[in-house]
Symmetry: C2
Amino acid sequence: MPQILRINTRTQEYSFEEVGTYANLGGRALTSRIINQEVPADCHPLSSENKLVIATGLLGGSTAANSGRVSVGTKSPLTGGIKESNSGGLFAHKMPKMNLLAIILEDKPTDETPFSTIFISDGKVEFRDASKIVGMDNYPAHDILLEEYGNKLCAAMIGPAGETVRKTATIQFTDPYKRPARSAGRGGTGAVMGSKKIKALVLDPEFNNKVTAADPETFKTARKTWVKMLQDHPVTGQGLPGFGTSVLVNVVNEAGALPGKNFRYGQVEHAADISGEKIAENIEARGGKTTEGCHAGCVIQCSQQYNNDKGEYITSGFEYETVWAFGGNALIKDIDQIAIMDRICDEKGMDTIEMGNTIAVAMDGGIIPWGDGEAAIDLLNKVGTNDPMGMIIGNGVDFAGGAFGVERLPTVKGQSMPAYDPRAVKGVGVTYATSAMGADHTAGYGVAQNLLKVGGDIDGLKKEGNVELSKNLQIATAAIDSMGFCLFVAFAVLDASDGVQAMADLVQAYTGNTFTTDDLVNLGIHCMQDEQEFNKRAGFTKMDDKLPRFFETDPLPPHGVIWDLDEDELQGAKV
Amino acid sequence: MPQILRINTRTQEYSFEEVGTYANLGGRALTSRIINQEVPADCHPLSSENKLVIATGLLGGSTAANSGRVSVGTKSPLTGGIKESNSGGLFAHKMPKMNLLAIILEDKPTDETPFSTIFISDGKVEFRDASKIVGMDNYPAHDILLEEYGNKLCAAMIGPAGETVRKTATIQFTDPYKRPARSAGRGGTGAVMGSKKIKALVLDPEFNNKVTAADPETFKTARKTWVKMLQDHPVTGQGLPGFGTSVLVNVVNEAGALPGKNFRYGQVEHAADISGEKIAENIEARGGKTTEGCHAGCVIQCSQQYNNDKGEYITSGFEYETVWAFGGNALIKDIDQIAIMDRICDEKGMDTIEMGNTIAVAMDGGIIPWGDGEAAIDLLNKVGTNDPMGMIIGNGVDFAGGAFGVERLPTVKGQSMPAYDPRAVKGVGVTYATSAMGADHTAGYGVAQNLLKVGGDIDGLKKEGNVELSKNLQIATAAIDSMGFCLFVAFAVLDASDGVQAMADLVQAYTGNTFTTDDLVNLGIHCMQDEQEFNKRAGFTKMDDKLPRFFETDPLPPHGVIWDLDEDELQGAKV
């Protein structure tokens, strides 16, 4: 049986525990259950009472395609509510090979305590001196860890943003290409790790127990069905592998739903310059790779390697959301500058969505000119230093709005919105409003039905049908995040009559426990209930399940649509 | 009948309106009713939907002793909840002489609009060019207004903190000595005025209608009874006039309730150096004045004029709360440095309580050393400039905590605590927790019964009796703030069997409307109901009526007491 590793970061004591009441949970369902059960909802996110949980999904360690996402849970420094942020990288499949279902970091040492690297091996946890990498950016620090631990390094680490407990700080995970390029991006999980004075978590490269499915034959069959489903669907089989997620730039812009200039417009003129097609063209011309997976076992391969015009590596995991945040919302037209900003965010360990929106707020407040990429790069580089401007920028949109006197702040529960204007994509707008996570497209991606017409066709410009859509997607997503699947599998699942059954079959065959489609739905519902319970105890009400008022009052060009769902309607999306 | 003047700061249109449904309200009851009725609870405090209301009390314009406080109401940029902040100065008694009960500033112009001075005369409102005083500190700007409008100037104005919409920004009012030394201090009212691009409001010095009591003879008798009551009480007749409010430094320190080093201790070693006795000694030695009133008709005279060692004027309204915030909580031992900080706060237009606590948080975060007055002065002087550190400091405790990574933040609803540790003065602790205003001693001053043994004797170290005490005090205070009385009259009222009757008699004789002691109590209750209703619609729950958790976990020396009232007990203090 996999165990839960509980580490006290103050006393450096640890214990490997049986899963007990946390049995049959994984990924997000597990992190959210632990946070809801063990963390006082009204504690300060950076206090000793908060915990940081890293959990693998129900399919972690398996060979099921696209099941290698790892969940990070905590009370969010950004939102003050519960947070699950998930990431690719090597952690999810590695943990079960070390007999680990979850790692819980508890308590915190004094402010004066130096940062440590925690090294986890067979039945043993060591706090190691991190002085060689403290204060360093993620890539160079990761290189030092590679030297120290070898090429099988599997690390989770924070950059200068996390060390300085910025509210946008990420935890970066080793990807399959020996880079710290995968992020648990949203909600400031890296600040919680920083508050506990942990610079990196390293999993012993030499500890690799063999993990097998409980019912190998059934699993093998289910796995084949599953791969075929993903490869046959036009989005997961062709669109995403071809141009990465940035294939959406032109699509969403055409639909009039690409937020421009701090959510003033639904289209930007220079969309083609920052599109997935443009990115692919540059990659072709400069070397690099148009397809990469964020974790072993990925068959979608939506990631890439993006080089500069000298053919030097700049970044990977260069997502649509990132490109939009800097390129659309902050009006920066140079895709190479945007790539550099993506890299800076990975280096400092900062959420790209929150940072792009923050840069837009800085522009709105007159701190730097609209569209000025060089000035934006300067601001980003201040984060993680003692520069007060870096303290501001690193704390995200609402904080920057308070500093710069900007009241146009596209946030819900303190977290800023991703790359779809909720007025024109109301299915995802309902998710922004009602998710316990704050404005989060991945919590219930109504874009699929509203714009892409995958899994249904519901008009995103009108409110009809979108509350129910979002609710169902939020439940399904919570289940997907709990099994450890990449969210993109949903494109295929939603269009397949046996999609949900295929996922359930995989879990049942892998774990050996009965797992029906009803169990799968209940996994999602119970996960959301944990999250909503926590937030309620933290003081959230239906007034927190709303969009900022300017969405209700300012029509969005070109469609002239406003946000017209009131707080009582929106409660229909809660479980 | 006095009227309500409604001014649109965008269109510059205005109207003088009958009071209508706002009849029989004044001061805080009126501002809170208007905000609750007219402002969308979920609007951004700096948006066009917020309003700023300035109202005189039910006894405004009268000769009743100590009835010249003016109320400022808005949705607070600091707390996100409703706010009434009241001040001395000339406004309250002047408004009725211009037939005004309240002035409401509505809407807002574009960010590019230059600041205006609003000049209000008989039936007319003018937006005048404010370019001569924009960007200036309050004293020099006020001097220019004195030149322009003469010695009868009656102004309300904002400093650089308000112009830059800092969350700690005050509105400063002309005092009886031609200085802008009286503040509507708490909750960032000045930022709302700044967002509406109003630098100053000036009431026409030449417009002075005679105001008389409806029943002059009865009023005269009631007034005499009232004055005698105030003059006969040891606190209002002797303690406050002798040493000002800073008489409390030694008293509260002796009681082990003076918060030291960001609320770590209940006593500081250097209390004598920053005591009211020391201040009085300096004033005697250097010239200055030990007694001044903040408004015409004050018989308590707790204010003063404090000079430096060259005999030059530094500040007045040098309150206990200010002295404690910088001197106790930030451990600055030099009373002259503290006086300079008080002056800087008046110059920039910043709340001294919030700023002292913010400086303590900066010290806790290692930004400047503990007790370093010069470094603190440097930080304060950055507010209102483009310096990012000034943006941080000017936004108060919670904001600075977010910037500096400090989790020990003594705030409720985003507003920081005044000069009484709630663990040792639980009567005021209940008020901090449950007041709609955030942590506010003036909303229900349990210190009276807990420490001073005025109006009863209830142990501040134990919770018994303190919920009911706070509730009753909060109701009484809301009524006092609505009549326009200075809160200090409560010392006398609480110890007199006919104190409440005396206040009711004054209102009835002055207004000509029946006003019993029951009416007085109901005035307070209805005012609190408006405030709680607004906050509920803004998303506040009982989880917001709590103290930060460190008060529950960390015992306070020297008594070793903790905060032990849970959220359900605390609800007993709500109406």
